[in-house]
Structure formats: C-alpha cells, structure tokens
C-alpha cells in the first residue's frame, strides 16, 4: 500500500469538497424526512463519503458507474446534478427519472451514472456488461460497480467477477464493507475475514483498504482504474467503512455492536479530513467554510426548485414502459 500513488493537495481538497457535499446533502434529506416533507425509504451513506469521493478523483465524466439503494454518495461524487436529484427525491416531474424511479433508481447517463438498483448484488452483472461496452468502444473508459459487504455473498457477485476476469473487462468492483448488511453483521454472514480474499478465486487482484482514509482509497482506486484503462482487466477493492445512520433511516440500531459503533463514530472521516486540510495548510478554515457555505447554497436552491415543481401527470404510467406510449 505504501506504493500507492498519493493524492496531491488539490485532489485532497476536491475529495473533501465532494465528501462534504455528500454529507450536507444527507443531513438535509434527513432533516426534511424528520419534518415529514420527504417521504421515501432512505438508506443514508453518512460515514461512507470518502470512498466515492476518492474513487471519483480518477474517473472521467464518461466512465460508467452502477450503484445501489445506498448510493447517493456514489452518485454525487460522479457529478449527479443536484437539482434533478432533489426533484426526483421529491417525486416531481422535473426529477431525473420524472419522479418514476425515486431514490433507489436514480439515473443520469450524462454523468455515467447508468443504473441504480434496489436488488442486492445486481449492480455487478450490469456493471460487467458496461465494462464490455466500454472495452468495445475502445476509448479506455472504465466501469465501476459499487456494492456492500452483504452483496458479496450472493451469486451475482461470483458470476460477475468470474466473467469480468475471464474477459479482462475494465471493471472496478468496489465492495463498501460497512460491517453490516441490514441488521446482520459481517461476521455473521461469512467465515472469511476479508471479501478481497475472494479475488484470487477469479484470477484478479483484490485488496482491502481503509475506505475512510483518502490516501489509501485514492491510491487503491487509481491503481485499479489505471489498470482497467490499460486493458489489464478488473480489480476487486474492499473498502472498509461504517454507516452511521444504520440500514434504513428510522431504525433503532439496537442490533449494532456498541463498541464498534462508538469506535466508528470516533473515526468519523469527515472531521478528520477537515482537520487535516487545515493542519497541513492545504486550505484555511475560512476557505473550507466558504466551500461548505457554497454547497449549502446549492442544496438550498436544489431543494427549493424541487418542491416548487409539479408532480408528474398520471399519463406517465403509460410512458417509458416501452419506447412507444401504451394506448
């Protein structure tokens, strides 16, 4: 890991900017949900911000990603437009999916955000196919599959990794190991200590890194992405992390190991990175505050525009089922 390329100061600041957008966005959603203004199932990515922020530092707009219900962080890091996202969460016709998809199916092909799925494991086979498309295009594009630790035990994981390795597809499999799958702890779902150990069984490189550490996460992702772009095939990255708001917003969290939870809270990557930026002189407190204020303003605007927009008309039930409208 010491060999990993390190993010430069500018990149580190960019990682923070992205991660802060994710964090503030999450906090705003929760606030509105608590106030009864947003009604939806919500799987908060709070605590996992660094992973996609560090990964995306090496991605281009036209690289592909697929993610899951717990994927707002992945999407925002990929550049998902805030306005369309908020309008979608609010179920409005101006939403990126015209209000038809909702939080679990946010999609934005212009930013390479191709598929969001609510079915555990299903991001992987589809990202494999996007990797095939990318390879055929011959433009050195890559495809990223995000999924959780729980998803690593489902059949689709196995088939996808084997196929991607066999065809040497430019796919980066990012297992965000947040120690829990719903209420099931990582230890109760498998005998193994890391998911990355499975990579060898497909003949692909596999690493476990601290996903909350921007250096490690950036480095591992960059190596994998470069490898994929160079036509050398897929990589499995297990990024360890923690989800601070449990599985589904509103749950009790009683199933969680208290010590593990307390430790994770103490290791919250957001204040750590913020402090580091200041300590290392990468940005001043004022500069960071300005960045954060700017993000707040963007979220304000997106939120307002979303709630001002109309709901979709019921005719939409007949549209987008097929290319042609149903009569």
């Amino acid at each position: 890991m010491s060999n990993y390329p390190k993010p430069d100061n500018e990149t580190l600041l960019e990682i923070y900017r992205t991660a802060n957008l994710i964090k503030q966005n999450d906090e705003r959603i929760i606030k509105l949900m608590m106030a009864g203004k947003l009604v939806m199932p919500y799987y908060s990515p709070r605590g996992q911000e660094i992973i996609p922020s560090a990964v995306s530092a090496s991605l281009e707009d036209d690289d592909y990603i697929c993610t899951i219900y717990r994927g707002l962080h992945d999407m925002l890091a990929k550049g998902f437009p805030l306005d369309e996202m908020w309008a979608e969460l609010a179920g409005r016709e101006t939403g990126t999916c015209k209000g038809k998809g909702g939080p679990m199916h946010l999609t934005c092909p212009e930013r390479g955000m191709m598929v969001t799925t609510g079915i555990v494991g299903s991001s992987m086979p589809i990202a494999t196919g996007l990797g095939w498309a990318a390879k055929l295009d011959g433009k050195n594009r890559v495809s990223v599959a995000n999924f959780g630790d729980g998803a690593a035990n489902i059949g689709a994981f196995h088939e996808s990794l084997n196929m991607a390795a066999l065809y040497e597809l430019p796919v980066i499999f990012i297992c965000q190991n947040n120690r829990y799958a719903e209420h099931t702890s990582f230890d109760d779902s498998s005998k193994v200590e890391t998911i990355s150990i499975r990579a060898e069984g497909y003949g692909m490189p596999g690493v476990t890194v601290n996903g909350n550490d921007p250096d490690e996460m950036y480095g591992a992702a960059k190596v994998a992405i470069d490898r994929a772009r160079a036509g050398e095939g897929p990589t499995l990255i297990e990024a360890t992390t923690f989800r601070f708001n449990g599985h589904l917003l509103g749950e009790s969290g009683a199933y969680m190991d208290k010590d593990l939870y307390a430790q994770a809270q103490a290791d919250d990557p957001m204040p750590i990175l913020r402090k580091r930026l200041v300590d290392e002189g990468i940005a001043s407190e004022d500069e960071i505050a300005a960045i954060e204020a700017d993000i707040t303003a963007r979220i304000d605007a997106a939120q307002k525009a979303a709630f001002d927009a109309p709901f979709p008309d019921v005719i939409e039930l007949k549209r987008d089922v097929y290319a042609e409208e149903i009569d």
Partner: protein
C-alpha cells in the same frame, strides 16, 4: 406470546410460527434477518423464535436467496418443515430456479418418493413509495406452476390459520404477506384455515367481487358505498390462490350473475384472467355479462405518490366498475 386474541398480522404470523415450532420440532425457520440478534426480521415477524428455539432451528442467513430456498428444499427432503423467508416478493425472482424447477417439481419427478414441505414467506404491496423493485405482486407466476400452492391472507385470523395449514401441508406453499396490512388488528381464533377454501367476506346478491390481500378491504369499502346506491355486492376473499376455490366463486357468480376479479398485480395475465375464464366457461348463459378484471396499471410500480396511487386498484375503481356492470 400474548394471550389476548386481538393481534395484528405480524403478531398472528409470529404466533403461528411460534405454535408450530412448539408443537413440532421439525419446523424450522430461515431467511435474512430472522434471528433475534438481527431483531427478529425486518418487520419483527420472526421475533423471539431464535431465542426460544435456538439458532440451529432458526437460521439468520447471508444474503443468498438461492441458498436459502435450496437449503429449505434440502432440509425438507431430509424430513424437516422449513419456513423460509424471501424478504420481499420482488427478490423471489432471484431463487426462481430453486422454486420453479426444484421445490415445485421434486415430488412429481421422483414419482412421489420425495416431497418438499416448505413454506416460503414473502411480503409485498405498494403504498410506501418504495418504487419499482419492492412491491410487485407475482402470484400468477406461481399459480401457473404445477406443484406450488399459494395463499394470501387479508387479515390476522386468516394469516394465523393459513400459516398453520401451510406448515402442515406436505407440498411447497408460497405465503404472501401484504405489507400495508401488517398493522391492522383483528381477532385471532387460532383455527387452521384449509388451503383452497375461500371465505364470503360480505354477502350480496347483485354482483360478486373476488379479491385477496389488499383488494378484499377495498371490495368491502366499495360494497359499503354501493349499498347506498342500492347495489348489493358480495365480497369473496380467496385466501388461497392456488388452488383457488372454484366452487365458492362459481356459486356466488351463479347467484349474482356478475363477477369482478380484483388484484394488485398488473391486470394483464394476472390471476383474474384465469378466474374470469373459468367463470365464463362454466356459467355461460347464466351470467349477465362477462366476468371482468381490475388490476394495477401495466407498468412497473412508480415512485412518485400521485403515480403510485393511480397505479393500484382502489375501492373507487371497484365501485365504478360495479356500477358500470349494473348498467
């Protein structure tokens, strides 16, 4: 277990599992989150079971739907009676091979040497803004599958009684739980309800509404309204979808001469098609018009509230069709 007979659906199913496991030590439970360490199921349906009966009999599983159903089938062939949970009906597409090619067929293919006395519990139903992959009704797939039985209680008493019968049954039974009805309380008599027998939920003379799950309550509400206009609607709660109670439906249809079949699955190729066809085939000449059908719109379940509401059947749609049929 509480002694009072007033329970909601969650409590009734929990009691049925509890009672069955107490009476018969070959009854097992497995599925994601079903153990008490995981809070006894995402909705608490299996609460208390692992504590009382031990984690050998109650297995909280990894996210591995094929292995869940496969393990249930294997244990069943080995002499046990597993109750397997597939958390939501949409996820039942994942272990479809295990159900369709194996659970449903082993008795026949082995010439009766083996059988698969499993119950597959699954929940579904729109109304919680969960979008396209979390609330489909797929009972028609299983009704089209020789070897499978399918039940779908609309109230706690039936839930208890059908669960006990499903566990007793020597063949695989799909047990569909209607999520939005989980918290509706009712009297629970703790009597077994025979599989294949419908219930007249309300008597009437002008028109017959055949429903299950959601559409029973809607039918009752519609009947109440129709009564004000002097239209007497009989409401039949199928309870069992496969086999379904032809006798009960035909005798009601014979009396009223008019039949509506309503279900939350999309109308096209839903179970209403089979029931309507059988009614038409058997009562031609006695009917005042063809049996008709109400189902959800022919599209994936939409997220945005106004669309989700327009998507599914409701009392008003049933009432309007009834009036239309009364001429």
């Amino acid at each position: 277990m509480t002694d009072t007979n007033k329970m909601d659906m969650i409590g009734a199913i929990n009691a049925a599992l509890h009672d069955a496991m107490t009476e018969d030590e070959t009854v097992l439970v497995l599925g994601e989150e079903v153990g008490d360490k995981q809070e006894g199921g995402v909705m608490g349906v299996t609460k208390g079971l692992s504590t009382k009966f031990g984690t050998d009999r109650v297995k909280s599983t990894p996210i591995s739907e094929q292995a869940i159903i496969g393990a249930a089938i294997g244990a069943a062939v080995g002499g046990y009676k597993p109750v397997a949970e597939i958390m939501l009906m949409n996820f039942i597409a994942v272990p479809m091979d295990m159900i369709f090619n194996h659970a449903a067929k082993l008795r026949f293919m082995s010439g009766g040497q083996t059988n698969v006395p499993i119950v597959i519990r699954t929940m579904t139903g729109s109304g919680f803004s969960t979008g396209g992959q979390h609330s489909d009704y797929l009972e028609a797939w299983f009704a089209h599958t020789p070897g499978m039985k399918v039940v779908a209680p609309s109230n706690p008493d039936d839930a208890y009684g059908l669960m006990r019968s499903a566990i007793d049954d020597p063949d695989p039974v799909l047990f569909i739980e209607h999520l939005p009805s989980y918290w509706t309380p009712g009297e629970v008599t703790k009597q077994r309800i025979p599989i294949g027998k419908a219930r007249v939920a309300r008597e009437g003379t002008d028109i017959t509404l055949v429903g299950h799950s959601l559409t029973v309550g809607q039918g009752l509400a519609a009947a109440e309204e129709l009564a004000k206009d002097g239209i007497s609607m009989e409401v039949i709660d199928l309870r069992s979808i496969a086999p379904w109670d032809k006798e009960a439906v035909l005798s009601s249809a014979r009396k009223t001469g008019r039949v509506i079949v309503a279900h939350e699955a999309v109308k096209e190729h839903g179970i209403g098609a089979e029931i309507a066809s059988v009614v038409n085939e058997n009562l031609w000449g006695e009917l005042k018009g063809p049996a008709r059908r109400i189902g959800s719109a022919f599209c994936p379940v939409p997220f945005s509230k106004p669309l989700e509401e327009a998507f599914a059947p409701n009392a008003a749609k049933i009432g309007a069709m009834a009036k239309d049929m009364m001429g």
